[in-house]
């Protein structure tokens, strides 16, 4: 949130401290320095990248292939490290 954005007052927010925005509105994707790029020729659809990602930033598409969600990927590199066929490369963002 930028400083200029007007924040809601106490009459406008829910009581009891209940959060009112999903974290998907906060794009952690801008944290990354490197991003995963998948070589679909090598990919065996083992789905381990989707399993291991701490952010759930690799989704499995309808066709069974993984797809990184760059809005949320923090570039940790676990997917690339764990891919059994080295189909993921961490590339400078």
């Amino acid at each position: 949130m930028s400083l200029e954005e007007k924040l809601p007052g106490w009459k406008e927010i829910p009581i009891g401290g209940v959060p009112f925005k999903p974290s998907t509105e906060y794009k952690t994707g801008d944290w990354k320095v490197f991003k995963p790029v998948i070589n679909y020729e090598k990919c065996t659809k083992c789905m381990f990248c989707h399993i291991y990602c701490p952010d759930g930033a690799i989704k499995i598409k309808e066709d069974g292939f993984p797809e990184p969600d760059y809005d949320f990927c923090k570039g940790c590199g676990i997917c690339a490290e764990e891919c059994p066929v080295k189909a993921i490369e961490m590339v400078k963002d």
């Binding site: 959060p19 974290s23 952690t28 701490p54 952010d55 923090k74 764990e82």
Partner: protein, 326 residues
């Protein structure tokens, strides 16, 4: 009876933890929670102790949770979960109240080593003694990470932390790691297990088993921390695997059946029990982590490394004995 959960089933299930949380890049806790929630079998209510997970997923006004979730304080997640479980039971008994419409609700408590080994221990032990039907998942990053890497009861010997620094006289934490899972098992609760995310399906099946069991269940899962353990973030799963391969963190289950605590080794550790040559020396695990770097530089401390190896062997032998493998 646990239904067979496969990788395909798990991958298909939608994530109940949304991205956009502020856990560090490469934090095992994110993976742990995603997998644990994929193992759920119906409605759940989550209670979370103060810590990295709680703070990173609920920075107001954002929340990453797709399930009902409450954070109370640091040391009372077991008590909070007890209250939720009792509330549901009371409403079911009287068939009255907003939750009475559910056949069953799984209550899950998440806490770190801080909120479990130390400050949360009393509430944990009390909840076990009272026999509440809930699952307690301890994600152990072996220090009070959220407040800046201070030592906890779960910090291993010789590890550097900010309150047990590797100084000129004292080389890191002096004390050993409290055997929290064995302590939980000695409470004679129906189900206790240790897990590592390097073996995700093993973890998922254990979570499902913990949920299915009636009464308290406890799962101790190792949660490597790239910031506190000082290693590059992509190595998280490798470290979690080495912990098991060196028998630093053996994987087992303990069930209280017919008046006896029955220990069973899980297959990644059972393999090593069958073929001891597969057991890797602890040095391989220690040298990858910056928190143990003082054991290697400026001078290699074989005395301390062999001390740690002795402890690892001692713990491994104890588990083997209990599993009937010795």
């Amino acid at each position: 009876m646990a239904e067979k959960l496969t990788l395909k089933d798990i991958a298909k299930k939608p994530d109940l933890l949304m991205p956009g949380h502020r856990l560090c890049a490469g934090c095992a806790a994110g993976t742990i929670v995603r997998l644990a929630l994929k193992a759920t079998r119906g409605p759940v209510i989550l209670a979370n102790a103060t810590g990295c997970l709680e703070v990173a997923t609920t920075i107001f006004p954002y929340s990453s949770w797709k399930v009902p979730w409450i954070h109370n304080a640091f040391e009372n997640v077991a008590a909070t979960a007890s209250g939720i479980e009792a509330a549901f039971r009371a409403m079911k008994k009287a068939n009255k109240g907003p939750l009475a419409k559910y056949e069953h609700i799984d209550v899950i408590a998440f806490a770190g080593d801080g909120g479990t080994y130390d400050i949360g221990f009393q509430a944990l032990s009390g909840a076990f003694e009272r026999g509440h039907d809930f699952l307690y998942i301890l994600y152990d990053n072996e220090a009070y990470m959220n407040t800046g890497i201070q030592r906890s009861g779960g910090t291993p010997r010789c590890a550097w932390t900010t309150t047990s620094p590797a100084g000129k006289v004292i080389p890191g934490k002096r004390e050993w790691k409290k055997p929290i899972a064995r302590i939980a098992a000695e409470h004679e609760i129906p189900y206790v297990a240790t897990a590592s995310i390097a073996y995700p399906m093993d973890f998922v099946r254990k979570v499902r088993k913990g949920l299915e069991v009636e009464g308290p269940a406890f799962i101790h899962v190792l949660s490597p921390c790239t910031r506190g353990w000082r290693y590059p973030p992509e190595k998280t799963i490798k470290i979690a695997k080495l912990a098991v391969e060196t028998c630093f963190f053996p994987l087992w289950e303990a069930e209280f059946k017919e008046g006896d605590i029955v220990y069973t080794l899980s297959s990644p550790s059972e393999r090593i029990a069958r073929k001891p040559e597969l057991k890797k020396p602890i040095e391989e695990y220690l040298k990858l982590q910056g928190r143990f770097s003082h054991l290697f530089r400026p001078k290699k401390r074989d005395d301390l490394i062999s001390e740690i190896q002795r402890w690892v062997d001692y713990e491994w032998k104890m588990i083997l004995k209990r599993c009937g493998k010795l």
